[in-house]
Point group: C2
């Protein structure tokens, strides 16, 4: 108990509470890999910043030559505009109630929004003075947002409206093929991806060659080799990856760039369990079906340079608001004590990062996000 | 579309984004009901404030005569201490790394902490100068934190340590009977509750009559009639209730005091669905098995005085980071448009409140929490 110096990493000596550790080198490697892949396939890479929500991580993209980015809300667009990003796409069906932010942003950055209906288009056309870029989402099989790609008349009517508009400058079609998350492995992901892109191209063929095709799911952007027909990619999660992506076969454990360090607060050797401070308010309740059962995270050992890949069947077995119940093996149980730290790889890094609100680098520096910056976006 | 004045409530005219509406009258009624029940059963009612995390809601308790409260972290204790609360119990196995906050708080309030092991007890004894109240958690069947109630020797050794300590002032046993959430209805909840309390009393009988018995689960505190053997109750969720409690039979829909107002951003009449801005970053991913399938919330109609109980099978069918996919019936689909609002009752109000970070009253006032107050606790 409380013998960090020998048992765990130096960085942990500075921590007292659940903290989201960010391994900069893994993160930069994930960024560089996709930047290079995008170049190779002549894709315009406009990374989604909803996963990290941080100016500093944005800086690492800038150093790789990224100039246009994607966000999930107008407030997030404001945060990154403030940091000098000049081309920002808000990849969410536009909330027309936030008209004043759309107006304000379209004056200072090259703003693209998602307009998926004539209702929204007509309303914006009647209220905006400044030109704004527009993408329309098509539903190619995931069945969340977007016009079903088969709805020819609906799509034609909307494009006709954009064509006549001097405000809504149509850029292209976007699809989020979230159903790549429902399959496993490169071949299956690539099949869903190809079908998705073919459907977008089929719609495009009926209109104009100028229409851009944009996609956004991390599995396809990471695994696929064939991007013919695609102009823009907007993945976000790959920047950190997580256990979901590892299970699909998109990344290895070693690619996962974030890890929650949690203090052990109780030990129950009779059940091979410890209680950590680390619950649903830290990890979210995203859950993974694993050979071990339902898991909320996997245990890794922390060291001075970060953490190792999980090698044992140790995992976060349940979470309540603040408590996490961790299953360990007998050897681990013997070695760990109250006040020691466990590293937990998250099931879904986007939600974990959103809950944790800031990061700690491996040198112990706090890295802020839009939620912890001085400027308030809410 | 955008015809609030006729379709929805006045308060919504002020909103532009997903907002957690708080119905003060329902909330005050939930508080008053439990205050009165506690008086009737001569229980010391020390409500858990982790659900609301707000000074203003705390004020409503004060007006009902509450003087001692429960929280889930030392930071939350600091926030409420700042607001004048003088007796605060941190109902979480103590994180010994936060020694400086324990020291600071024990000087200004009557602080109680949970110490469940000799390791933690010894460490605190060696580091603290100021007396602090101590509860020990016993595990009576939920198998999360706490010493298994059967571990006689472990309990005896800990109590012996407290007996000799001039710092750790032992107060009593606590248990969280989280397994009342796994059953349905008053009879089944009362059965689990009785078994739980009997086990605590069995342990107490081996030591001293002075030992207090404290429990905390909302189902038992709300439904049980027999509290013999219990001294203190520390429920939290009942202040808002939610769909989990409604499904167990602990509350009615009308008792649920919070509701997330979400703007409609897309309409897919061909599937009787709308997309709302309202996803996992607003609701969490707590899910309920319902006759309709897995649900993440239920749709209610909003009006000037709040919202009605859900009457139809309309529900939040899935959530991703920001998107919510809502199933409506044909009549609702016809009436609703982009820019309109839907009210969604949350599955788990504690996690929803923690994510939303502040409330909006039915008169349109923002109600802050520890996350949005000026004083930073992180």
């Amino acid at each position: 108990m409380l013998n960090f110096a020998t048992q765990t990493a130096r960085i942990l000596m500075k921590l007292r509470e659940p903290s989201l550790l960010l391994d900069e080198s893994k993160c930069r490697k994930n960024i560089a890999t996709l930047v290079s892949k995008a170049k190779q396939h002549q894709l315009d890479f406009q990374p989604h910043f909803k996963t990290h929500q941080s100016n500093l991580v944005g800086e690492w993209y800038r150093e790789e030559g990224i100039r246009a980015i994607t966000v999930s809300s107008l407030q997030m667009a404001q945060y990154f505009a403030e940091d000098g990003w000049e081309e920002i796409t808000v990849a969410f069906p536009i909330n027309v109630l936030l008209l004043d932010i759309i107006k304000e942003l379209s004056k200072r950055v090259q703003l693209n929004i998602y307009v998926n209906s004539l209702d929204a288009a007509r309303y914006l056309e009647s209220k905006l003075q400044q030109e704004v870029g527009v993408f329309t989402e098509l539903d190619t099989g995931y069945h969340r947002s977007g016009i079903p790609y088969q709805n020819q008349e609906e799509i034609a009517a909307l494009l006709d409206f954009f064509h006549k508009s001097s405000i809504l400058r149509f850029q292209g079609f976007y699809t989020h093929a979230g159903h790549t998350y429902h399959v496993q492995g490169k071949e299956a992901v690539s099949r869903v991806h190809r079908e998705t892109v073919d459907r977008l191209c089929e719609v495009k063929a009926r209109f104009s060659d100028d229409i851009k095709i944009a996609i956004g799911d991390t599995p396809a952007c990471s695994l696929a080799d064939d991007f013919s027909g695609v102009d823009i990619i907007r993945p976000g999660n790959f920047v950190f990856y997580d256990l979901v992506q590892q299970q699909i076969g998109v990344c290895s454990y070693d690619d996962i760039a974030v890890c929650v360090a949690c203090p052990v607060v109780e030990k129950r050797p009779e059940r091979n369990e410890v209680i950590i401070h680390g619950g649903a308010v830290h990890f979210s309740k995203d859950v993974l079906e694993d050979p071990a059962g339902k898991i909320f995270g996997k245990v890794v050992s922390l060291h001075d340079q970060g953490w190792n890949a999980p090698t044992t069947a140790s995992y976060l077995a349940s979470v309540s608001q603040e408590h996490g119940l961790v299953k360990l093996n007998s050897q681990q149980i013997e070695q760990i004590g109250i006040g020691d730290w466990l590293g937990i790889l998250p099931v879904h890094s986007c939600l974990t990062a959103n809950l944790m609100r800031s990061y700690v680098s491996l040198s112990g520096q706090r890295i802020d996000t839009m939620h912890t910056s001085n400027y308030s976006y809410f």
